[in-house]
Protein backbone atom coordinates (compact mmCIF):
# COMPACT_ATOMS: atom_id res chain seq x y z
CA UNK A 1 0.00 0.00 0.00
CA UNK A 2 1.34 3.38 -0.94
CA UNK A 3 1.01 5.23 2.33
CA UNK A 4 3.16 8.13 1.23
CA UNK A 5 2.20 9.18 -2.28
CA UNK A 6 4.18 12.07 -3.65
CA UNK A 7 2.65 14.91 -5.71
CA UNK A 8 3.14 14.93 -9.50
CA UNK A 9 6.20 17.11 -9.16
CA UNK A 10 8.15 14.40 -7.42
CA UNK A 11 7.67 11.72 -9.98
CA UNK A 12 10.87 10.04 -11.13
CA UNK A 13 12.83 11.94 -13.72
CA UNK A 14 15.42 9.31 -14.43
CA UNK A 15 18.52 8.22 -12.65
CA UNK A 16 18.77 6.04 -9.62
CA UNK A 17 16.58 7.36 -6.81
CA UNK A 18 19.13 6.39 -4.21
CA UNK A 19 21.98 8.26 -5.88
CA UNK A 20 22.19 10.82 -3.08
CA UNK A 21 22.70 10.34 0.62
CA UNK A 22 20.00 11.83 2.79
CA UNK A 23 20.59 11.56 6.50
CA UNK A 24 17.81 9.66 8.25
CA UNK A 25 17.04 12.52 10.64
CA UNK A 26 13.31 11.89 10.35
CA UNK A 27 13.73 8.55 11.98
CA UNK A 28 14.49 10.20 15.29
CA UNK A 29 13.04 13.67 15.15
CA UNK A 30 9.63 14.80 16.32
CA UNK A 31 6.42 14.51 14.37
CA UNK A 32 6.21 18.28 13.86
CA UNK A 33 9.66 18.74 12.42
CA UNK A 34 9.18 15.71 10.24
CA UNK A 35 5.98 17.14 8.81
CA UNK A 36 7.70 20.45 8.14
CA UNK A 37 10.44 18.70 6.23
CA UNK A 38 8.00 16.52 4.32
CA UNK A 39 6.02 19.66 3.43
CA UNK A 40 9.19 21.30 2.18
CA UNK A 41 9.89 18.51 -0.26
CA UNK A 42 6.30 18.48 -1.46
CA UNK A 43 5.31 15.20 0.10
CA UNK A 44 1.95 14.52 1.68
CA UNK A 45 1.95 13.87 5.40
CA UNK A 46 -1.76 13.44 6.07
CA UNK A 47 -1.56 9.69 5.78
CA UNK A 48 1.28 9.45 8.25
CA UNK A 49 0.23 8.50 11.75
CA UNK A 50 3.32 9.63 13.61
CA UNK A 51 7.10 9.59 13.68
CA UNK A 52 9.24 7.55 13.83
CA UNK A 53 8.17 5.99 10.58
CA UNK A 54 8.30 2.58 9.05
CA UNK A 55 11.03 1.62 6.62
CA UNK A 56 8.71 1.73 3.61
CA UNK A 57 7.71 5.35 4.28
CA UNK A 58 11.27 6.33 5.04
CA UNK A 59 12.40 4.92 1.74
CA UNK A 60 9.75 6.84 -0.14
CA UNK A 61 10.60 10.08 1.61
CA UNK A 62 14.25 9.50 0.84
CA UNK A 63 13.48 8.89 -2.83
CA UNK A 64 11.31 12.00 -3.03
CA UNK A 65 14.08 14.07 -1.48
CA UNK A 66 16.57 12.74 -3.99
CA UNK A 67 14.37 13.61 -6.94
CA UNK A 68 13.68 17.15 -5.84
CA UNK A 69 16.00 20.06 -5.91
CA UNK A 70 18.02 19.98 -2.71
CA UNK A 71 17.84 23.77 -2.62
CA UNK A 72 14.21 23.47 -1.66
CA UNK A 73 14.93 21.02 1.08
CA UNK A 74 17.80 23.19 2.30
CA UNK A 75 15.65 26.33 2.29
CA UNK A 76 12.98 24.73 4.42
CA UNK A 77 15.33 22.83 6.67
CA UNK A 78 17.63 25.76 7.44
CA UNK A 79 15.47 27.23 10.22
CA UNK A 80 15.35 23.82 11.87
CA UNK A 81 19.16 23.68 11.94
CA UNK A 82 19.35 20.10 10.79
CA UNK A 83 21.97 18.77 8.45
CA UNK A 84 20.92 18.28 4.84
CA UNK A 85 23.35 16.88 2.38
CA UNK A 86 23.41 18.26 -1.16
CA UNK A 87 22.38 16.17 -4.10
CA UNK A 88 24.59 17.07 -7.04
CA UNK A 89 22.53 14.98 -9.45
CA UNK A 90 19.33 16.88 -8.74
CA UNK A 91 20.93 20.28 -9.28
CA UNK A 92 20.39 19.81 -13.00
CA UNK A 93 16.64 19.44 -12.67
CA UNK A 94 14.68 22.14 -14.51
CA UNK A 95 12.89 23.47 -11.42
CA UNK A 96 15.92 23.72 -9.23
CA UNK A 97 16.25 27.52 -9.49
CA UNK A 98 12.59 28.17 -8.78
CA UNK A 99 12.34 25.70 -5.99
CA UNK A 100 13.44 28.02 -3.18
CA UNK A 101 10.90 30.63 -4.27
CA UNK A 102 8.22 28.04 -4.78
CA UNK A 103 8.51 26.64 -1.28
CA UNK A 104 7.00 29.64 0.53
CA UNK A 105 4.34 29.96 -2.16
CA UNK A 106 3.21 26.44 -1.58
CA UNK A 107 3.10 26.86 2.17
CA UNK A 108 1.23 30.23 2.16
CA UNK A 109 -1.34 29.46 -0.52
CA UNK A 110 -4.79 29.82 1.01
CA UNK A 111 -3.52 31.43 4.19
CA UNK A 112 -4.76 34.75 5.50
CA UNK A 113 -2.78 37.69 4.13
CA UNK A 114 -0.33 38.97 6.72
CA UNK A 115 0.58 37.71 10.13
CA UNK A 116 -1.78 35.36 11.95
CA UNK A 117 -1.33 37.47 15.11
CA UNK A 118 -2.88 40.51 13.45
CA UNK A 119 -5.82 38.37 12.36
CA UNK A 120 -6.43 37.26 15.91
CA UNK A 121 -6.40 40.94 16.82
CA UNK A 122 -8.70 41.76 13.87
CA UNK A 123 -11.23 39.11 14.83
CA UNK A 124 -11.16 40.33 18.45
CA UNK A 125 -11.77 43.88 17.24
CA UNK A 126 -14.59 42.78 14.98
CA UNK A 127 -16.17 40.96 17.87
CA UNK A 128 -15.94 44.08 20.05
CA UNK A 129 -17.42 46.29 17.35
CA UNK A 130 -20.10 43.70 16.66
CA UNK A 131 -21.18 43.74 20.32
CA UNK A 132 -21.24 47.54 20.19
CA UNK A 133 -23.40 47.58 17.05
CA UNK A 134 -25.88 45.04 18.37
CA UNK A 135 -26.06 46.88 21.72
CA UNK A 136 -26.85 50.10 19.86
CA UNK A 137 -29.55 48.40 17.78
CA UNK A 138 -31.30 46.74 20.74
CA UNK A 139 -31.08 49.89 22.88
CA UNK A 140 -32.62 51.80 20.00
CA UNK A 141 -35.46 49.25 19.90
CA UNK A 142 -36.46 50.48 23.37
CA UNK A 143 -36.08 54.19 22.50
CA UNK A 144 -37.08 54.41 18.85
CA UNK A 145 -38.51 57.94 19.05
CA UNK A 146 -35.45 59.37 20.80
CA UNK A 147 -32.99 57.69 18.42
CA UNK A 148 -34.94 58.79 15.32
CA UNK A 149 -35.12 62.35 16.59
CA UNK A 150 -31.45 62.54 17.55
CA UNK A 151 -30.35 60.91 14.31
CA UNK A 152 -31.71 63.92 12.44
CA UNK A 153 -29.26 66.16 14.32
CA UNK A 154 -26.28 64.30 12.85
CA UNK A 155 -24.38 65.55 9.83
CA UNK A 156 -25.17 62.81 7.31
CA UNK A 157 -23.15 64.52 4.58
CA UNK A 158 -20.06 64.35 6.77
CA UNK A 159 -20.72 60.67 7.43
CA UNK A 160 -21.13 59.93 3.73
CA UNK A 161 -18.01 61.93 2.92
CA UNK A 162 -16.07 59.94 5.50
CA UNK A 163 -17.34 56.70 3.98
CA UNK A 164 -16.05 57.77 0.58
CA UNK A 165 -12.72 58.84 2.10
CA UNK A 166 -12.26 55.53 3.93
CA UNK A 167 -13.19 53.51 0.84
CA UNK A 168 -10.62 55.46 -1.15
CA UNK A 169 -8.06 54.86 1.58
CA UNK A 170 -8.72 51.11 1.46
CA UNK A 171 -8.48 51.16 -2.32
CA UNK A 172 -5.15 52.98 -2.19
CA UNK A 173 -3.78 50.51 0.34
CA UNK A 174 -4.98 47.61 -1.82
CA UNK A 175 -3.17 49.20 -4.78
CA UNK A 176 -0.05 49.53 -2.63
CA UNK A 177 -0.12 45.80 -1.91
CA UNK A 178 -0.74 45.11 -5.58
CA UNK A 179 2.24 47.28 -6.54
CA UNK A 180 4.62 45.61 -4.12
CA UNK A 181 3.61 42.22 -5.49
CA UNK A 182 4.96 43.49 -8.81
CA UNK A 183 8.15 44.66 -7.09
CA UNK A 184 7.38 48.37 -7.48
CA UNK A 185 8.41 49.79 -4.12
CA UNK A 186 8.18 53.46 -4.96
CA UNK A 187 4.76 53.11 -6.56
CA UNK A 188 3.63 51.14 -3.54
CA UNK A 189 4.95 53.86 -1.23
CA UNK A 190 2.97 56.50 -3.13
CA UNK A 191 -0.24 54.48 -2.82
CA UNK A 192 0.39 54.03 0.88
CA UNK A 193 0.97 57.77 1.31
CA UNK A 194 -2.33 58.42 -0.46
CA UNK A 195 -4.04 55.97 1.87
CA UNK A 196 -2.60 57.70 4.94
CA UNK A 197 -3.68 61.08 3.54
CA UNK A 198 -7.23 59.77 3.22
CA UNK A 199 -7.06 58.53 6.79
CA UNK A 200 -6.00 62.02 7.87
CA UNK A 201 -8.90 63.43 5.85
CA UNK A 202 -11.28 61.17 7.75
CA UNK A 203 -9.92 62.43 11.07
CA UNK A 204 -10.26 66.07 10.01
CA UNK A 205 -13.91 65.61 8.94
CA UNK A 206 -14.64 63.75 12.15
CA UNK A 207 -12.98 66.43 14.28
CA UNK A 208 -15.16 69.08 12.61
CA UNK A 209 -18.18 66.93 13.40
CA UNK A 210 -17.13 66.51 17.03
CA UNK A 211 -16.44 70.22 17.33
CA UNK A 212 -19.92 71.05 16.02
CA UNK A 213 -21.49 68.75 18.61
CA UNK A 214 -19.30 69.60 21.60
CA UNK A 215 -19.60 73.35 20.96
CA UNK A 216 -23.36 73.21 21.56
CA UNK A 217 -22.91 71.30 24.78
CA UNK A 218 -23.48 67.74 23.57
CA UNK A 219 -21.51 65.14 25.48
CA UNK A 220 -21.65 61.52 26.57
CA UNK A 221 -24.33 62.18 29.16
CA UNK A 222 -26.66 64.19 26.91
CA UNK A 223 -28.81 61.14 26.19
CA UNK A 224 -28.53 57.45 25.29
CA UNK A 225 -28.24 58.11 21.58
CA UNK A 226 -25.32 60.49 21.97
CA UNK A 227 -23.69 58.20 24.49
CA UNK A 228 -23.64 55.52 21.78
CA UNK A 229 -22.80 57.93 18.98
CA UNK A 230 -19.78 59.43 20.73
CA UNK A 231 -18.57 56.09 22.14
CA UNK A 232 -18.90 54.19 18.87
CA UNK A 233 -17.45 56.83 16.58
CA UNK A 234 -14.63 57.72 18.99
CA UNK A 235 -13.75 54.03 19.40
CA UNK A 236 -13.54 53.84 15.62
CA UNK A 237 -11.67 57.17 15.49
CA UNK A 238 -8.92 55.69 17.70
CA UNK A 239 -8.69 52.67 15.39
CA UNK A 240 -8.21 54.96 12.41
CA UNK A 241 -5.32 56.63 14.23
CA UNK A 242 -3.77 53.25 15.05
CA UNK A 243 -4.24 52.15 11.45
CA UNK A 244 -2.49 55.29 10.24
CA UNK A 245 0.43 54.67 12.59
CA UNK A 246 0.75 51.11 11.25
CA UNK A 247 0.52 52.32 7.65
CA UNK A 248 3.14 55.01 8.36
CA UNK A 249 5.53 52.35 9.68
CA UNK A 250 4.86 50.23 6.58
CA UNK A 251 5.41 53.28 4.38
CA UNK A 252 8.79 54.03 5.95
CA UNK A 253 9.95 50.47 5.43
CA UNK A 254 8.61 50.46 1.86
CA UNK A 255 10.53 53.64 1.05
CA UNK A 256 13.71 52.03 2.34
CA UNK A 257 13.08 49.09 0.03
CA UNK A 258 12.20 46.81 2.90
CA UNK A 259 9.47 45.00 0.97
CA UNK A 260 9.59 43.18 -2.32
CA UNK A 261 7.47 40.83 -4.40
CA UNK A 262 9.02 37.92 -2.54
CA UNK A 263 8.72 39.45 0.95
CA UNK A 264 5.79 41.73 1.74
CA UNK A 265 4.34 39.94 4.72
CA UNK A 266 4.56 43.08 6.86
CA UNK A 267 2.68 45.15 4.32
CA UNK A 268 -0.04 42.51 4.10
CA UNK A 269 -0.33 42.67 7.88
CA UNK A 270 -0.70 46.45 7.99
CA UNK A 271 -3.09 46.48 5.04
CA UNK A 272 -5.33 43.85 6.63
CA UNK A 273 -5.69 45.95 9.76
CA UNK A 274 -6.53 49.04 7.73
CA UNK A 275 -9.21 47.22 5.74
CA UNK A 276 -10.75 46.07 9.02
CA UNK A 277 -11.05 49.74 10.08
CA UNK A 278 -12.82 50.45 6.78
CA UNK A 279 -15.05 47.40 7.11
CA UNK A 280 -16.28 48.47 10.54
CA UNK A 281 -17.18 51.93 9.25
CA UNK A 282 -19.23 50.40 6.44
CA UNK A 283 -21.62 49.08 9.09
CA UNK A 284 -21.28 51.95 11.53
CA UNK A 285 -22.25 54.65 9.01
CA UNK A 286 -25.63 53.24 7.91
CA UNK A 287 -26.43 52.06 11.43
CA UNK A 288 -25.91 55.41 13.14
CA UNK A 289 -26.51 57.92 10.32
CA UNK A 290 -29.03 56.34 7.95
CA UNK A 291 -31.22 53.55 9.32
CA UNK A 292 -34.48 54.75 10.88
Amino acid sequence: MNVFPGPPSVKPRGGPPHACVVPPFWAVESRTTFRLRALAIGAHTRTLPCAPLGPLVLDQVRRAACRLSWHRVLAAAAPLKSPVLPDPASAALPDSHDAAAAAPEASHEGDLPGDLAIWIFIFAELLAFGVFFVSYAFTRAKNVALFNEMQLTLDREAGALNTVVLLLASYFVARAVNAIKRDRSQTSARWLAAGIACGAGFLVVKLFEYHAKFSIGINLSTNTFYMFYISLTFFHFMHVILGMVILAAVLLKTRRGGYSAADHHGMDTGASYWHMVDLVWLILFPLVYVMR
Binding site: P113, D278, M291
Partner: protein, 90 residues
Amino acid sequence: MTRYPAISCLNRTLVVLMLATGASYAIGELGGEGWAAVGAVLILSFVKSRLVINEFMGLRFVRLRWKLLMLGWLVTVLGLIALAYRVGAA
Protein backbone atom coordinates in the same frame (compact mmCIF):
# COMPACT_ATOMS: atom_id res chain seq x y z
CA MET B 1 2.78 33.78 -1.44
CA THR B 2 -0.83 34.82 -1.06
CA ARG B 3 -2.85 35.65 -4.15
CA TYR B 4 -4.39 39.05 -4.61
CA PRO B 5 -7.01 40.62 -6.92
CA ALA B 6 -5.87 42.31 -10.14
CA ILE B 7 -5.93 46.08 -10.57
CA SER B 8 -8.97 45.97 -12.86
CA CYS B 9 -10.81 44.01 -10.18
CA LEU B 10 -9.88 46.59 -7.53
CA ASN B 11 -11.09 49.39 -9.82
CA ARG B 12 -14.42 47.70 -10.40
CA THR B 13 -14.78 47.06 -6.69
CA LEU B 14 -14.19 50.72 -5.88
CA VAL B 15 -16.85 51.82 -8.40
CA VAL B 16 -19.43 49.43 -6.96
CA LEU B 17 -18.58 50.50 -3.41
CA MET B 18 -19.02 54.17 -4.30
CA LEU B 19 -22.35 53.49 -6.01
CA ALA B 20 -23.58 51.48 -3.03
CA THR B 21 -22.49 54.26 -0.65
CA GLY B 22 -24.37 56.77 -2.80
CA ALA B 23 -27.45 54.57 -2.68
CA SER B 24 -27.26 54.27 1.14
CA TYR B 25 -26.89 58.02 1.46
CA ALA B 26 -29.78 58.61 -0.93
CA ILE B 27 -32.05 56.35 1.12
CA GLY B 28 -31.26 58.46 4.18
CA GLU B 29 -31.69 61.76 2.35
CA LEU B 30 -35.00 60.72 0.82
CA GLY B 31 -36.28 60.03 4.30
CA GLY B 32 -36.35 56.30 3.88
CA GLU B 33 -37.96 54.82 6.97
CA GLY B 34 -39.44 51.51 7.89
CA TRP B 35 -38.61 47.92 7.27
CA ALA B 36 -38.06 48.22 3.51
CA ALA B 37 -35.55 51.05 3.85
CA VAL B 38 -33.74 49.29 6.71
CA GLY B 39 -33.63 46.07 4.69
CA ALA B 40 -32.26 47.86 1.64
CA VAL B 41 -29.56 49.62 3.67
CA LEU B 42 -28.59 46.37 5.39
CA ILE B 43 -28.32 44.56 2.06
CA LEU B 44 -26.17 47.38 0.69
CA SER B 45 -23.97 47.15 3.81
CA PHE B 46 -23.66 43.41 3.34
CA VAL B 47 -22.64 43.80 -0.30
CA LYS B 48 -20.11 46.52 0.51
CA SER B 49 -18.63 44.56 3.38
CA ARG B 50 -18.32 41.43 1.25
CA LEU B 51 -16.54 43.39 -1.46
CA VAL B 52 -14.06 44.88 1.01
CA ILE B 53 -13.45 41.48 2.62
CA ASN B 54 -13.03 39.58 -0.64
CA GLU B 55 -11.31 42.10 -2.88
CA PHE B 56 -9.48 44.63 -0.74
CA MET B 57 -8.56 42.28 2.10
CA GLY B 58 -7.92 39.54 -0.43
CA LEU B 59 -9.93 36.91 1.44
CA ARG B 60 -11.38 35.61 -1.82
CA PHE B 61 -8.32 33.40 -2.14
CA VAL B 62 -8.02 32.08 1.40
CA ARG B 63 -9.21 28.79 2.81
CA LEU B 64 -12.94 28.28 3.27
CA ARG B 65 -12.76 28.29 7.06
CA TRP B 66 -11.45 31.86 7.13
CA LYS B 67 -14.10 32.98 4.66
CA LEU B 68 -16.81 31.35 6.74
CA LEU B 69 -15.47 32.95 9.91
CA MET B 70 -15.66 36.41 8.38
CA LEU B 71 -19.01 35.73 6.72
CA GLY B 72 -20.33 34.39 10.02
CA TRP B 73 -19.39 37.60 11.80
CA LEU B 74 -21.00 39.73 9.11
CA VAL B 75 -24.23 37.73 8.91
CA THR B 76 -24.54 37.53 12.70
CA VAL B 77 -24.04 41.25 13.23
CA LEU B 78 -26.28 42.38 10.37
CA GLY B 79 -28.87 39.73 11.26
CA LEU B 80 -29.03 40.86 14.90
CA ILE B 81 -29.28 44.49 13.81
CA ALA B 82 -32.18 43.56 11.51
CA LEU B 83 -33.83 41.67 14.37
CA ALA B 84 -33.43 44.67 16.68
CA TYR B 85 -35.00 47.00 14.14
CA ARG B 86 -37.81 44.51 13.65
CA VAL B 87 -38.38 44.42 17.42
CA GLY B 88 -38.28 48.23 17.54
CA ALA B 89 -40.85 48.51 14.75
CA ALA B 90 -43.25 46.07 16.41
